[in-house]
Structures are given as C-alpha cells and as structure tokens.
Amino acid sequence: MSIDLKTIKHISKLSRISVDEKRAEKLADDLNSIFEFIEKLNELKTDNVEPLTSIAETTLKLRSDEVKSKNLREQIIKNSPQENEDYFVVPKVIE
C-alpha cells in the first residue's frame, strides 16, 4: 500500500489542515514509512477476535440528571478569539 499525493490531499481536506505541495511530499514519505510499520498487524489472523472497545470493564455509573454548573456564559466566551456580546464570531457563511 502506498499513500500518494492525491490521498494526502484527501486526508488534508478531511482533517481541515491545509497542506502545500512541498509539505505534501514530505508527509507522504513520513506516512508511508509509518504505514509500512503498521502493516505488521496483517501477519495476525483476527477473524474470531472481539475488538477491545473499552479498557475499563465496568458499566457506566448512573446519576440523577440535575444541573450542577450554572451561569457559565462569561467563562465560556472568555477565551474566544472573537466574540460579539454573547456570541462567537466566525467569517460570514451565508452569501
């Protein structure tokens, strides 16, 4: 298996990270050497193995559904790069 520039472009789009041509080539090289290393898993037959989806073998605890934190508006907005009164501001999305 080999990751080409087209695939890098596709992953770059999915992960919302812009990548220029020069970096794309370096990334393809890096990812290919990492995937070569990962392919080792194909040596193993795992058809009848259950996937491990949770490491903690306990069921989730139940709790009563009550509001514990209130009036956080100011705290939530405090670190935003750009805000207007109580709103986060983003570039215009409707033409």
Binding site: D30, F37, V49, P51, L52, A56, T58, K78, V90, K92
Partner: protein, 485 residues
C-alpha cells in the same frame, strides 16, 4: 537552611511539619534555583509571585495535617489550572487560560500544595523527547544537549534538577516512564481509571493517565495517594478502594512471583540494558521474591496497534481546535479557509502527522482494515497480560531500549522515535499500572530504568516491589549543575 532543594518530598514535609522550614522558605528556595536554571527550559509559565503569596498565606495559619503542607510544586502544562495559562506545548493554545481546574491538580491543592508553574512538554503530549513543543526543547540535567525524554520532559528534567520536589505528568504510551528513565527519576503510570482525566488536555482518551514523577518511591506513593480519586466528571473514572499507598508501603516482597517476558528481549537491544535487566532479576531474588519466565506473545504488535489507536483518538479529540471557541485563530477568506489555516499554522508537524494518520485510519473504506484490526489486536495484547497474571503478581522489564539520546538525533525519522516506547506502550494498551525506577548507568554515565508492571488496581504491589528494589539498587543520580553559571 541552604540545602532545601536537595531534600526529597518526604524530608521536606517532615521539616515543614516540625516547623524547621516554612512554606515561604521552601517556595523561595525552589524559585531561586529555577531562576538560575533557565537554560534547561523546563517552564512554559512561571507563577512565582503568586506562589510566594500563597506560601505566606499558608504560613500565617499552617494546616500541618494536610498531606502536602505548603509544598511548592510545578506541574506538566497539560493540566488545566484555573486562571493560569495552559498550553499543552502548542501554539494553538498559547493564549488559553482555563476558567476551571483539573481534578488531579485540585486534589493536590486541597492537600496544601502550592503551584510554582507549568512545565514544558511535547505538543499535546505527542513525542518522546520534548522536541515537538512549541516552546522549544528541554535540556536533560544529566548532560548538555541531551533530551529529557517525553512527552513529560519538562517534568522529568525539573524533578531531576531539583527545581520542584515532585511533579505530575501524563502517560499515553510511556510519557511518564520513559522520561523518568532518561533522567534517573521515578515515574508511575497508574491503572486506567485511577486518576481522573477531567481537565487534562486530551490526546488519546482510552490511553491517557496522569501520574506522579519523583526522586524516590516513597514520594511517588504519597503523591499517587493524593491524585487518585473517583470522579463523576470523568465517565471512565473507576470507583474502587484506594489504598493509603505511602502508609502501606513495605519492602517485604517475600514470596511474590515476578514474571520475565521473553518477548522483551528485542533485537538490537544494547548489552547494557540486558545486563541491567539481569541485575534487576538478582535484586528481586535477593528480596526473597520468585522469578518466573513468562510469554507475552503479541508484544511485537503493540507499537503498530498504538500508532493506529492513539492517532485515531487524537484526530477526533483535536477536532475541537477550530479557531472559534478558544485558542489561536488565523484569518481566512471564508469559514473553511479559516479552519484550515488555523489548524495548519496552529499545530506543529508531529501533531499534524498524527491527526492525518488518525483521519486516514478512520476514513471510509479503511476503518475495518486499520482501526477495527487494531482494536482486535489490542484485545490479544490484553489477553496476553491476563494469561500471565494467572501465574505471576507482577512483571519486570527494562523501561526503554536505550539511554537518553542527543537533541536532534531522531527528529527526522518518526519511526525510530516511536521505537522508544516499545516497552511502555503495551501497558497503556492493556490499561495496567507500570512504574519506572532508576536502576543503573550506561558507559556514558546516563541513567537507565527498570519497569515493573502490575495487575489492574494493584499499584500498592508494584510500589512495594519498586521500594524493595530501590533499597538494593541504591541509585545515585550523577548531576553536576553544569547549567548553573
């Protein structure tokens, strides 16, 4: 008292309780030494003047019954600290000041400790040498130009250089144990679910755990007792009976069965590591414990599994950094352009690489071949340990396949960097506790560590084994203060 910073945490607590040292004196001593140690680059954010104020306040009405009475300490910059900048070593969080406190740090302050500042680490804890940090690499106090390990590199360096009496790091694939091994210090990765992940900047949620890093095993046990708690704010936090690890610490490990996994004798392992391991086996026998050969057949598959599971979880966790709600934002022509530029300029190369690996293995058409496959192999790795623990109480291995390397030596080859974690990664995949203790030096005089892996929730047992071995090993760190002019 001029030698305050040379004291271990336990000595410092004793002296504060006996009123021989005040919290203010201790705090000032660590600050003074830190001021002279800028070259190590351990701090991302210093909070020194606030620390002195807090220490003075403590001294006015000292509560000496607390477990960490007026003890100053610094923490890895991955823990959210209320009103103190928290960066995770990343440009994307360079302007982020949490409005809340992580549970683990809250537990520490509740026992009387005082924050000195936030310690450097690999960006989002992704790295094994502290070289991926936006704030630059950290020097290992052992030798100039040497990495302190990673990702908790600022933490390991600060403890070894005695700039903080103790600290906490986080460990996703070895990020506490490997830097501890590289700096001649002790580092414990607790059982998954022992320490709350609430308020810790997330990397890979099914693997991340916070844990103590210290100068000796007793200090490590004490801090573990403070930070471990059930927390309803973390749905994977586990409600189990937690020991008073430091009170119940004993060097009596007679009759314990310790397993030696043959698969950890990897190709190309330096003879020094092999010899260290043999020495460790002798120490364990000297303590009256029994050695058994065991097999963990899927060991070789742990790293490839990790490099699917961890990036997959990271790509999902790091989706939140979009330049909208908090963190760095780059200007863009439209919303999508803003996202793409923000993440391209805000994340460093290693973080981008891992997000892309994770995105790829989770993407349509590849999920079964990679992610599902890795989850299945993860099960086999866990089964290996379950099988082994039917015969033994704990497992002894080297902590790392080499001693600390030079800054810049491995930055161009991601796979060779990843191989650093070959002995530590299986422990995270299986959710088990593991501790690294300093056990000797290589020919260059650099420290080497041994790892003791325990059953889930059996921290007390591995702390006891580490404590018994520590006594026999009698390790002395060789630090010359070369960075102090």
């Amino acid at each position: 008292m001029s030698d305050i910073t040379k004291q271990s945490l336990s000595e410092l607590i004793k002296n504060i309780r006996e009123r021989k040292i005040s919290s203010t004196e201790a705090t000032k001593a660590f600050i003074e030494r830190s001021e002279k140690s800028k070259e190590l680059n351990v701090y991302v954010t210093e909070d020194f003047s606030a620390a002195i104020e807090k220490a003075k306040k403590f001294d006015q009405k000292p509560n000496l019954d607390l477990k960490l009475p007026g003890i100053p300490l610094a923490v890895k910059d991955l823990f959210c600290t209320k009103n103190v900048k928290t960066t995770a070593g990343s440009k994307i969080l360079n302007n982020f000041t949490p409005t809340y406190e992580s549970t683990v740090t809250k537990n520490i302050w509740n026992e009387g400790a005082i924050l000195l500042g936030k310690l450097n680490c690999d960006e989002f804890a992704m790295g094994s040498s502290n070289e991926t940090s936006f704030f630059g690499s950290v020097q290992n106090p052992i030798d100039k130009g040497l990495v302190p390990g990673g990702s908790s590199g600022g933490s390991s360096s600060a403890v070894a250089a005695q700039l903080t009496p103790i600290t906490i790091g986080t460990d996703t694939g070895g990020s506490i144990r490997q830097p501890a091994s590289f700096t001649g210090t002790v580092g414990l990765k607790p059982t998954y679910g022992s320490c709350s992940r609430y308020g810790i900047v997330a990397f890979a949620s099914s693997l991340d755990q916070a844990g103590p890093m210290s100068q000796n095993v007793r200090d490590c046990a004490l801090l573990q007792e403070v930070i471990s708690s059930y927390d309803e704010k973390d749905s994977t936090s586990i409600d189990f009976k937690r020991n008073n690890y430091s009170k119940e610490l004993t060097n009596n490990i007679k009759g314990k069965k310790i397993g030696i996994p043959k698969e950890y004798r990897v190709d190309g392992m330096p003879k020094e590591i092999e010899d260290l391991w043999k020495k460790g086996i002798e120490y364990i026998k000297d303590c009256g414990a029994e050695i058994l050969d065991i097999s963990l057949p899927h060991t070789n598959y742990a790293l490839p599994t990790y490099y699917i599971v961890a990036p997959a979880e990271a790509s999902s966790n790091l989706a939140r950094y979009d330049g909208v709600k908090y963190g760095f934002r780059a200007d863009g022509e439209n919303l999508i352009d803003m996202y793409e530029k923000t993440r391209s300029e805000g994340f460093g190369a290693e973080v981008q690489r891992r997000i892309m690996i994770g995105t790829y293995v989770l993407s349509s058409g590849y999920y079964d071949a990679y992610y599902l496959k890795a989850q299945k192999v993860r099960k086999l790795i866990k089964n290996d340990f379950d099988e082994a623990y039917k015969k033994v109480d704990a497992i002894l291995t080297p902590s790392t396949p080499s001693s600390a390397f030079k800054i810049g030596e491995k930055t161009n080859d991601p796979v060779s960097m990843y191989l650093n974690d070959i002995f530590t990664v299986p422990v995270n995949l299986a959710g088990l506790p593991g501790i690294s203790i300093p056990a000797g030096h290589d020919s260059k005089g650099y420290p080497l560590g041994l790892q003791i892996i325990g059953k889930a929730f059996d921290e007390q047992n591995i702390l006891n084994i580490a404590y018994a071995m520590e006594e026999k090993i009698n390790f002395k760190n060789k630090i010359t203060d070369w960075w102090i002019k």
